[in-house]
């Protein structure tokens, strides 16, 4: 698929952030010359669309995904983009520390971004 993915942190906090305040925006761009059909359910669910690894490189298991069978297909025109918000996507049970996150859709992956999770108050 001729897609470009990007994940951008959008929270206003700088430095360590509480798990529930972590926010990001996923961007999908159609870099091809034909429209591409994208399932927004797959692209929007943190459990399906985000890969989170801890400082040791271990994959952090995400909560259970949505029940399949009701895709939300949209067509992205050549050069077009689709953005999806993510909020509080680091599992609540994840200990404080630095995490690496990237967006994925089917075979495509974005670059990693770093998130630092603060200790709970």
């Amino acid at each position: 698929m001729p897609l470009l993915l990007e994940l951008v942190l959008t929270g206003t906090a700088t430095g360590p952030t509480r798990v529930e305040d972590v926010a990001a925006e996923g961007v999908l761009v159609n870099t091809g010359s034909e429209p591409v059909e994208v399932d927004l359910v797959e692209l929007s669910s943190p459990s399906l669309a985000l890969e989170v690894v801890d400082e040791s490189g271990r994959l952090v298991p995400m909560p259970p995904p949505p029940t399949p069978g009701r895709p939300d297909i949209v067509a992205v025109r050549p050069g077009g983009r689709r953005t999806v918000p993510f909020r509080a996507f680091i599992p609540l049970t994840a200990p404080p520390g630095r995490y690496h996150v990237r967006l994925r859709y089917r075979e495509e992956r974005s670059r990693w971004v770093d998130v630092e999770v603060a200790k709970p108050i």
Binding site: E42, R58, M62, P63, P64, G69, R104
Partner: protein, 373 residues
């Protein structure tokens, strides 16, 4: 470069007796090539678990059984991004002292994913062990604590006896907070994005009320991104899916027709079991709920300890999701089945001191009599 990774987690985060310790290991192939892994051999805890007692001393595990036919065959190949989940229980001596034990999965054998230079190892996890109702906070108690220990034991014994009498008199109201670590591995997903290993904590409160002859289950949820007044539909959906459909036929001569299980989804500002965020679209996972669908009953099912029942989960093939005849863990539009109350039933039965169940299981539809003999 190592492509197999193993993570270890307790089955329950509650303090348990040494003989009741249960843990789950998940081995994942994070590489692009199939890797050999002898799943059958890996099921022998004595071959792969390392345990340290509270003072840091290595705990020797019982010897493994003699190798059988399946142990002797060559290891199978674990496909890229595939995983296996292994459960280990009863590996700790029932007479072990209480305290904080450390456990990890470890092997330097090639058939088990490791090598001498690069063993396959998980992180150490801590398991809190209780013993005889007394939990020692450290391995070196003070003299005062030692002198008071017999009195502590007496207080605990009296409390247990008092509770037991109340239960026998059908007057007990018993509470238990549940916190159970659950994992599931989905394979054969269509699309394949659903494949992977997921994890969460099933958390809720169980109250067995003998005078009212009810089991009350409460899931406390703190909302993020939405006010409770705007999320009343979720309460309706979740409670409508789970409350007053089944009952625990606990045989004690008290509730003659069992204890109907009532479920309450409660919005709180602190002390929550789960945090649920508003999804801008539809329900996206266990903790991201939407206002345009009614899948929240299924997600609450996870909070009660249930796994998906679509695609292949932990090796069991359920077929596609949202089948017309599927139960709530396959199709959110349909109701749960008795088996989905397993953790509630187990908790309620433990509170009542029951360790058996009626033939056919002790959770039944509220409309089906509990048949006592």
């Amino acid at each position: 470069m190592a492509t197999l990774r193993v993570t270890l987690g307790p089955v329950t985060r509650e303090r348990v007796a040494p003989g009741d310790v249960a843990i789950e290991a998940t081995v994942v192939n994070e590489g692009d090539q199939p890797e050999p892994f002898h799943e059958h051999q890996a099921r022998h805890g004595s071959l792969v678990l390392q345990v340290e007692d509270p003072s840091g001393r290595r705990v020797l595990l019982p010897p493994p059984p003699p190798p059988d036919e399946r142990d002797r065959i060559r290891p199978s190949l674990l496909a890229p991004r595939a995983s296996v989940t292994l459960r280990y229980a009863g590996f700790l001596d029932a007479r072990s002292d209480g305290g904080a034990y450390r456990v990890r999965w470890f092997s330097h054998h090639e058939a088990l994913g490791g090598s001498l230079e690069l063993p396959l190892a998980s992180d150490w996890i801590v398991i809190e062990i209780a013993h005889g109702g007394i939990t020692r906070a450290d391995s070196k108690p003070s003299w005062g604590a030692i002198l008071l220990r017999p009195f502590d034991a007496m207080v605990v014994a009296v409390k247990l006896l008092y509770r037991r009498i109340l239960v026998l008199l059908c007057r007990a109201v018993l509470d238990q907070e549940v916190d159970r670590y659950i994992t599931e591995t989905i394979t054969n997903g269509t699309p394949s994005s659903w494949n992977g290993t997921y994890a969460w904590n099933a958390r809720f409160l169980v109250r067995v009320d003998q005078p009212q002859q009810r089991v009350f289950v409460t899931i406390r949820v703190r909302l993020s991104g939405i006010a409770p007044s705007s999320a009343t539909a979720w309460v309706t959906t979740v409670e409508g899916a789970w409350t007053n459909r089944f009952k625990d036929c606990a045989v004690l001569g008290c509730a003659s027709n069992g204890y109907p299980i009532l479920l309450d989804l409660q919005y709180v500002t602190s002390g929550e079991h789960q945090v649920v965020s508003l999804s801008p679209t539809r329900t996206l996972n266990m903790t991201n709920w939407g206002l345009t669908d009614t899948d929240q009953g299924h997600e609450a099912g996870h909070m009660l300890g249930n796994k998906e029942e679509y695609f292949t989960v932990d090796g069991v093939d359920y077929g596609p999701g949202r089948q017309p005849g599927g139960n709530i863990m396959n199709n959110p539009a349909n109701p749960p089945i008795a088996a989905h109350y397993w953790l509630i039933q187990a908790t309620a039965d433990a509170l009542l001191g029951i360790n058996y169940s009626l033939s056919g299981g002790s959770t039944r539809s509220v409309n089906v009599p509990c048949r006592y003999f």
